[in-house]
């Protein structure tokens, strides 16, 4: 049967399927309202920047997460704060859900519209509005990526945090949510980088936060008074859409020095002390523990090359990068780091970059390339485009145990012994925070998404690993709540188990109801919108 006939045949048998999930309560995203909203959006933004064509909506329906595919009804590309405000205003008027979308890069399905509605793709707002090199800040739109901004700041002797994500991730989105970075030990995480921002609230009003909120210079400190800018960190887009953000930049030293302590023995008890030693002294810029899997990712150009390299490298790494105004200073800091590490972790030795270059048969550059990847624009995603993450937060001394527990939970789900998952496919990363006071553990499982069996096993393994981490007492972080809210009954359970969290969650939900009485902004919650409107009065 020819293609055309086959299609006709299938159509007649009604198996053409458009996977748009229909509204549950029948008030939001009604077809007649969508039509009106579409016309008004076209008027507000220009016809060119609004579409409800299925060829356009389909591209926003899926990502690498396990969240089921779902189309938005309309995709809008605002070009300004006013455009975003117009979108929110129209959405509220016609009760249409709005899903914010930065550059659309995430591993958790957060930009897949739960019930359709308007998808607000912010990539047109990709301008770097200002870089103040002397006073170390910049103002950017939500479509600006890390690689773009890093490139411009480095030219001015400054840098921004490098995230453990793709270099093409939106800076604004990342700072609002994950923002795991190898600089977190020294410079902080998330909110620590934000000076202020302009946001369109769910009801379409525009709010300015930070010193700019009353016309002051962007002098870095929070305020005035209560730290209002904090309400966006971890909100995952449920509390509005940021249209401009002023973030902190950090000095880039004239000279850098990298030393890589490595160990191939399973001496977990030495890793936390080694990390603490260098983190607490506060002379390193980047600082992390990771495993050889990442060496493959950083150094190789292809998956195959990466898989080949990984077994050649020792398993454990602590990676401090020191910097100095002079080479002498960078060198001296490096030496102190080495001494500090050896004092508490005598089984470590220091990697010889000449050997690395030999290992890679000269094809892979050594320290310079590694440093560039590690410091500026890490590309963590590989192997058919996906990976799953288990994560937790705890004091550094607990992380090895949490890791072991996660590994055990994972392997008991996907196999019967620890060798089932090769080093090529699983890797752990400890990121010290706040000068060694605690750390973030990331447990990455790289999967082949084209293999459904592999995917399913990995998903259940990841869930088991997360549960294990939580059982060991670790914290979760970066605005997990809106996700958990999406998971329904989990919310009530947590409120019962942790009453203090219950107070927090009630506060969040009430604030959400006040600011989004129509429940249109990244609709992950179900609440009584009539009650919400009353709360908002």
């Amino acid at each position: 049967m020819k293609g055309k006939d086959l299609r006709k045949d299938l159509k007649e048998r009604k198996i053409i399927k458009v996977p748009v999930k229909h509204e549950i309560d029948g008030t939001h995203n009604r077809p007649e309202n969508l039509e009106k909203a579409y016309r008004e959006l076209q008027e507000a933004l220009g016809e060119e920047w609004v579409s409800n064509d299925i060829n356009i909506t389909v591209a926003y329906a899926r990502d690498q997460s396990v969240v089921p595919m779902n189309h938005p009804h309309i995709v809008a590309l605002p070009g300004s704060t006013e455009d975003v405000a117009a979108i929110m205003e129209i959405a509220n008027r016609y009760l249409i859900d709005v899903t914010p979308y930065g550059t659309g890069l995430n591993t958790l399905g957060m930009t897949i519209p739960p019930y359709g509605g308007i998808l607000c793709d912010l990539r047109r707002m990709d301008r770097i509005l200002e870089i103040d090199a002397e006073n170390m800040y910049c103002t950017i739109g939500p479509g600006v990526t890390f690689a773009q901004l890093q490139t411009e700041t480095l030219k001015r002797g400054l840098r921004l945090i490098n995230p453990s994500t793709s270099a093409n991730a939106s800076v604004v989105s990342n700072i609002m949510m994950g923002n795991i970075s190898t600089l977190a030990n020294k410079y902080g995480v998330g909110l620590d980088h934000i000076i202020g921002y302009k946001i369109v609230l769910p009801d379409g009003r525009i709010m300015v936060c930070g010193p700019q909120a009353y016309g002051a210079d962007n002098a870095h400190l929070p305020g005035p008074g209560p730290d209002v800018r904090a309400f966006i960190r971890g909100s995952l887009g449920t509390m509005g859409i940021i249209t401009e953000m002023t973030i902190r930049l950090y000095p880039e030293p004239n000279h850098l020095k990298l030393t890589v302590p490595v160990s191939n023995t399973e001496k977990w008890e030495q890793i936390a002390p080694a990390l603490k030693a260098i983190s607490q002294r506060n002379i390193v810029i980047e600082n992390a523990y990771f495993q050889n899997t990442y060496m493959g990712i950083f150094l190789a150009e292809t998956n195959a090359e990466s898989s080949m390299l990984i077994p050649m490298f020792p398993r454990h790494y602590v990676v401090p990068v020191t910097g100095g105004y002079t080479p002498e200073e960078a060198e001296a800091k490096c030496k102190v780091c080495e001494e500090d590490i050896l004092a508490v972790a005598p089984d470590f030795e220091f990697m010889d970059w000449e050997v690395v270059e030999q290992l890679s048969a000269g094809r892979i550059l050594g320290v310079d390339k590694f440093t560039k990847f590690f410091r500026e624009s890490v590309r963590v995603q590989r192997v058919k485009g996906s990976f799953f993450v288990g994560f937790g937060l705890d004091h550094l001394e607990y992380l090895p145990e949490i890791n072991q527990e996660m590994m055990r939970a994972m392997t008991s789900q996907v196999g019967t012994d620890d060798n089932v998952i090769s080093a090529d496919l699983i890797a752990t990363y400890f990121q010290p925070y706040d000068m060694g006071r605690l750390g973030f553990i990331e447990f990455d499982i790289f999967i082949d998404q084209s293999n459904p069996e592999d995917s399913l096993r990995t998903i259940s393994g990841t869930l088991a690993a997360m549960a294990a981490s939580f059982r060991k007492g670790s914290g979760i972080c970066f605005g997990i709540w809106p996700l958990v809210e999406g998971a329904g009954p989990l919310h009530d359970l947590i409120g019962l188990i942790f009453p203090q969290a219950g107070t927090y969650v009630d506060t969040y939900r009430t604030m959400k109801m006040i600011y989004d009485p129509n429940n249109v902004c990244l609709r992950r919650f179900e609440y009584d919108t009539l009650r919400a409107k009353k709360a908002a009065l």
Binding site: I54, N55, V58, Y60, A61, S166, D448
Partner: protein, 391 residues
């Protein structure tokens, strides 16, 4: 006609593992992040950057491929408009394949083949191009005979009658009226290095690169086997192409059915330069940026030869675009976009010319007649074909 000229014909569904696993990691939406020079010139995909909807980027086109093969919706005019907005410049695949292993550009090509087969592609504006290749064996609507006229006064061997080691495949673009100076420069350069070569004149067929780009594989293959027979009949041991598009077709598409080495003229000249056989003259100071044609660079991986040649030109300060080599931005002419989506095509060229300005170039130099013409038409900077600069 025998099908499967070079290999078993591929179907879009052969790549289902690719388009189903695309995780929207966005690597297809910028040049290699390690090579960024500025934020301004970091985008890689002309149609994605112009229209900004995800569907115009490779990641979105993967979703369209997935959805139409999964019978989620019927392809429409919009589907065609989107997939024919792609220049097939190959930069998305250049970014994606090494790490993610997806053949994004190939999938877009196969979507076009599916479109032609099912009748929803190409775009109406492409009809005249396809008609011209069918009727007159060139994509420009030129009457037959123009190829003969183009080489008539160049005193090169006619390989329909004479023998030479090398067949210079001129291509429709270099043979078109108005390109005489450039073709003449190439011939002089080749002659100056002592190359034994000849041409086919009016007997030279069209490589049908356009048909291939538009998804008309039947049209592309129509005369391919006869063409190969013709090339073999000349007795030449090697084909030297002037145009990168011809090079890609002859080298990659014809290779399994043809026992002839295919090289680009810049490769021949660069080798001669290495040997000391090519004397390059230049009499004026010039700052020129070399634009990597997509089909010469990414498709055929020829980056160094043109640069070696241009570096040898006295007085020429060779500049690099911020996006160069594997990361080069397309001129906007390829993939049928110039005829199908002229506004996008012009915008793409303007972007490149703005980049030329940004790096301080006084002229743009390239090694593809389509790129040359595309930039010339914008009229913002003088444009040179590489052969002109050499001679």
């Amino acid at each position: 006609m025998e099908r499967g000229l070079t290999r078993k014909r591929e179907k879009l569904t052969d790549y289902r593992d690719d388009y189903w696993v695309c995780g929207k990691c966005k690597m297809c939406q910028s040049i290699n992040v390690q090579k960024f020079v500025s934020a301004r010139f970091s985008a890689n995909c002309p149609c994605g950057t112009r229209y900004r909807f995800e569907s115009y980027y490779a990641a979105g086109m993967m979703e369209i491929a997935r959805a139409i093969t999964n019978l989620e919706f019927e392809p429409t005019e919009k589907t065609a408009e989107i997939i024919y907005s792609c220049n097939l410049c190959g930069l998305c695949q250049e970014m994606c394949f090494p790490l993610k292993g997806l053949h994004t550009t190939r999938i877009i090509q196969l979507m076009r083949e599916k479109a032609v087969e099912e009748g929803w592609g190409p775009l109406p504006a492409h009809a005249s191009v396809l008609e011209s290749t069918t009727e007159r064996d060139n994509p420009f609507g030129l009457e037959r005979g123009f190829k003969g006229r183009a080489v008539r006064d160049l005193e090169v061997k006619d390989l329909t009658r004479e023998r030479a080691e090398n067949l210079l495949f001129v291509g429709c673009a270099y043979a078109a009226p108005g390109q005489g100076e450039r073709l003449g420069a190439l011939v002089r350069a080749l002659r100056s290095v002592g190359l034994d070569f000849g041409v086919l004149g009016d007997a030279e067929p069209c490589c049908r690169s356009f048909n291939l780009a538009l998804g008309d594989r039947d049209g592309f293959e129509e005369n391919a086997l006869e063409n190969i027979a013709l090339f073999h009949s000349t007795g030449a041991s090697r084909i030297v192409t002037a145009c990168p598009h011809c090079l890609q077709v002859l080298r990659d598409e014809y290779s399994r059915a043809m026992d002839l080495e295919v090289v680009h003229a810049t490769e021949v000249l660069a080798e001669a330069l290495e040997r000391g056989d090519l004397e390059v003259r230049g009499d004026r100071k010039l700052k020129g940026a070399y634009h990597d044609p997509c089909f010469l660079g990414r498709w055929c991986e020829i980056y160094e030869a043109p640069r070696r040649l241009l570096s040898a030109v006295p007085g020429l300060e060779l500049l690099e675009f911020e996006r160069s080599l594997e990361n080069s931005w397309c001129c906007g002419a390829g993939g049928g976009v110039k005829s199908g989506r002229p506004e996008l095509s012009s915008w793409t060229a303007d972007e490149r010319l703005e980049e030329a300005n940004a790096v301080g170039a006084e002229v743009v130099i390239t090694a593809c007649p389509h790129c040359t013409q595309q930039f010339e038409e914008r009229g913002r900077l003088p444009v040179y074909d590489i052969y002109q600069v050499l001679v």
